[in-house]
Symmetry: C2
Subunit: 200 residues, 2 copies
C-alpha cells in the first residue's frame, strides 16, 4: 500500500534491530484521516467475506480496528489485557507471552460478544512473531467462531509470525511487509506473500 | 444526546453503586457507526474553537477520541499508561491514582507530539472522579499547550469530577450526564451544566 510505505519512509525511525517506531501517525499519535484510508483498504481486501465482527487487542490495535469497522459497518471488539489471570465473569481467555516486555499476560473477551456463528477478521497494527495474533485465534477457537483472516498495517517479514500463519492456512493481509531494516534503510517486500509462493 | 441515552437505557447494566457497564457498544465491543456519531456531535460542540490536537488516554478512550479526530480532521494522541515511572525518553508524564484499581500509574505523552502552540481537546469515554482528566491536564501544562475543553461520552454526575472541573473554569461537554442510577433506574440530567447554574 503506497501511502503507508511513503509515510513509513518519511516518518518512521528504526531503533535497534527490530523496533520500528511509527508513533507519529500509527500508534501514540494518530492521523485519523490516514487511519481511515488504511481501514478502507482492509475492508476492500476482505469484501464479500461476510465478516460479522472485527477483533483486536488493546491498546495500539484499536485505531486500525475501529477504522476497519467503520469501513465495514460491523462491530469491533478489543480484547482486554490483564497482568494476572485472576479475572472474574464469563469470558474467553488465554495467556500470551510478550517478547517485547518479557512477561506473560491474560487476554480476554467477554463471552457475550463472540458467538459460534461469527465470521471474524483479526486486525492489528503490527505482525512480528505473531504471539498476540495466536492468542486472539485461541479466543476464537474457544468461542467456536470462524477466523476469516488477519489484517495488519505493518508486517515485519524478517520475523516468523506471518510465515507461520500463512503456512497454517490463514489468510494474512499486510498493508506493507518490511523485509529488512536498519538505521539507513527500510526495504519493503513486493506483493503480500512469501517469496516461495506465487504473487497474486 | 438522545441516541446515547437510548442506547444506555437499552443495553447498559448497572453493577453495584457506581459501575455502569456499557461494554456492548462503547468500550470492549464497539459499534463503529454509533461511535462516529458521537465523534461528530463532539466536533460540532467545539466547532470554531481551532482545536489542533485531541488527547485521550489508553485504552477505552481511544475509540471516541479517534471518532472525534475523524470528524475534526486533527491528530489524536493517546497517552500511554505504565505501571512504573521508569520510562525512558523525552516525555511529559504524571502520576495518576486509579480508584477503580486502587493503584497508581504513570501517564505519558512523548514530547514530540505536544507543542506550546497546541489547542487541545481532551476526550474520554467516562468522567467520574476526574483523576485521569486531571492527569491529562497536567501533561498539557507541562507542554505549555492550551486545554480548550473536555468532552466525554458519559459523565457520572453523582461523582465530583465534572463539578470540580467546571468550577475551575474548564469547559466540560458531556454527551450525557447520569444523575443517579441503580439496578432499576438510570436518571439523566437535563442540560449539560450543574443544577445551580443556568442552562444554556
Amino acid at each position: 500500500m503506497n501511502i503507508l510505505k511513503e509515510r513509513i519512509l518519511q516518518e518512521a525511525v528504526v531503533l535497534g534491530e527490530d523496533v520500528l517506531k511509527v508513533s507519529s501517525f500509527l500508534n501514540h499519535q494518530i492521523d485519523p484521516d490516514f487511519m481511515a484510508e488504511l481501514g478502507k483498504e482492509i475492508a476492500q481486501r476482505f469484501e464479500g467475506e461476510k465478516i460479522t465482527k472485527i477483533l483486536t487487542v488493546e491498546a495500539s490495535g484499536i485505531p486500525i480496528a475501529l477504522a476497519t469497522g467503520m469501513a465495514m459497518h460491523v462491530p469491533v471488539i478489543f480484547a482486554k489485557k490483564h497482568s494476572t489471570s485472576n479475572v472474574s465473569g464469563s469470558a474467553y481467555r488465554t495467556i500470551v507471552y510478550s517478547f517485547t516486555h518479557n512477561t506473560e499476560y491474560t487476554v480476554l473477551v467477554e463471552s457475550d460478544y463472540l458467538d459460534a456463528g461469527d465470521r471474524v477478521l483479526i486486525v492489528d497494527d503490527f505482525l512480528a512473531n505473531g504471539r498476540s495474533i495466536y492468542g486472539l485465534l485461541e479466543l476464537l477457537e474457544e468461542a467456536g467462531a470462524q477466523p476469516v483472516g488477519i489484517a495488519v498495517a505493518i508486517e515485519k517479514g524478517f520475523q516468523s509470525g506471518g510465515r507461520e500463519l500463512r503456512a497454517e492456512g490463514y489468510r494474512v493481509e499486510s498493508l506493507v511487509i518490511i523485509d529488512r531494516m536498519d538505521e539507513d534503510e527500510i526495504v519493503f517486500r513486493d506483493g503480500n506473500y512469501d517469496e516461495d509462493e506465487d504473487d497474486e
